[in-house]
Symmetry: C2
Subunit: 141 residues, 2 copies
DNA sequence: CAAAAACTTGACTATTTTAGTCGGGTATAT
DNA sequence: ATATACCCGACTAAAATAGTCAAGTTTTTG
């Protein structure tokens, strides 16, 4: 049960922006250098963040990205959602008639995993980007 | 963020045992038929459950497996642990000096993922196998 | 004893997912 | 003009996953 790097880097990059932007756009190049994330990979990630309205872009020479919401209002779940990373610990969909094992009845553990999904998602729902910064600010210059 | 099938099938199979054993050993063949899980795959899973003392085996003709603890006392985390599925949402190890991005300092989001891991693990720590059955019993014959 | 049921074990493999890279754009400030 | 930085689809190497296979051993029962 691992988070993929895309989600992790997204959160990392947005946290970086929250720390280093002073109301101006932050370029991916800077984020890449500070956080040690491949620039090309960041581009791919920010494409989706932009499409899902988490950031907006400024093109041209002093361009970069800007957070749409303030870190206080940006839920971590918004970030994960932008990257299709809704937590779904098992493949079995709530809606579909078919259960995970192909049978028509739900498997014996179905409800349990549902409960787990809700539990984890609520963690991400209740955390804001600003919550990360509070804790890390002392350690990180 | 998905659970692998090994862990899911393990929980499923043990729940099956809890329901269908009447103090006698339950054969993998029966579990396989009831739950629709490949027998060969179950063998692989139970090997580990046995090594980690979650079940014990009875060989020979009316053999099978028996839960070591009662469902009331068997934590879901014990099951996951037996399958090396400790929840570790990011690759970065607590102990190691190296952080996830290869730098010597921990990344800006490190603490957050730590918190998440603890949160999720506590879910598994606090759930017992018997908790699954309570809920499912009505739905499942 | 023989045969069948059921556990034991390591190795092997196809498929899928992940974690990126690449190439060729377009917009804009100076 | 030109450098900087976003834009976007397609591609790929490597790792993880989900499972199979082969070749056993042990124990019960007829
Ligand atoms: S039927 Fe939903 S998890 Fe198995
Ligand atoms: S340094 Fe630990 S998660 Fe990045």
């Amino acid at each position: 049960m691992k988070l993929n790097t895309k989600s992790r880097y997204a959160v990392m990059a947005l946290a970086d922006m929250a720390v280093f932007s002073r109301n101006n756009a932050v370029s991916l190049r800077d984020i890449s250098l500070r956080q040690g994330i491949s620039l090309l990979y960041l581009e791919q990630i920010f494409l989706r963040l932009k499409k899902n309205n988490v950031v907006k872009s400024v093109r041209g020479i002093n361009g970069g990205y800007i957070l749409v919401k303030s870190p206080k209002d940006l839920k971590i779940s918004d970030i994960l959602l932008a990257l299709d990373q809704k937590v779904k610990t098992v493949g079995c969909k709530k809606e579909s008639k078919k259960s995970c094992n192909g049978k028509s009845t739900k498997c014996i553990t179905h409800h349990f995993w549902d409960e787990l999904d809700i539990y984890i998602n609520s963690f991400f729902e209740n955390k804001k980007l600003s919550d990360l910064l509070k804790i890390e600010r002392q350690e990180y210059k």
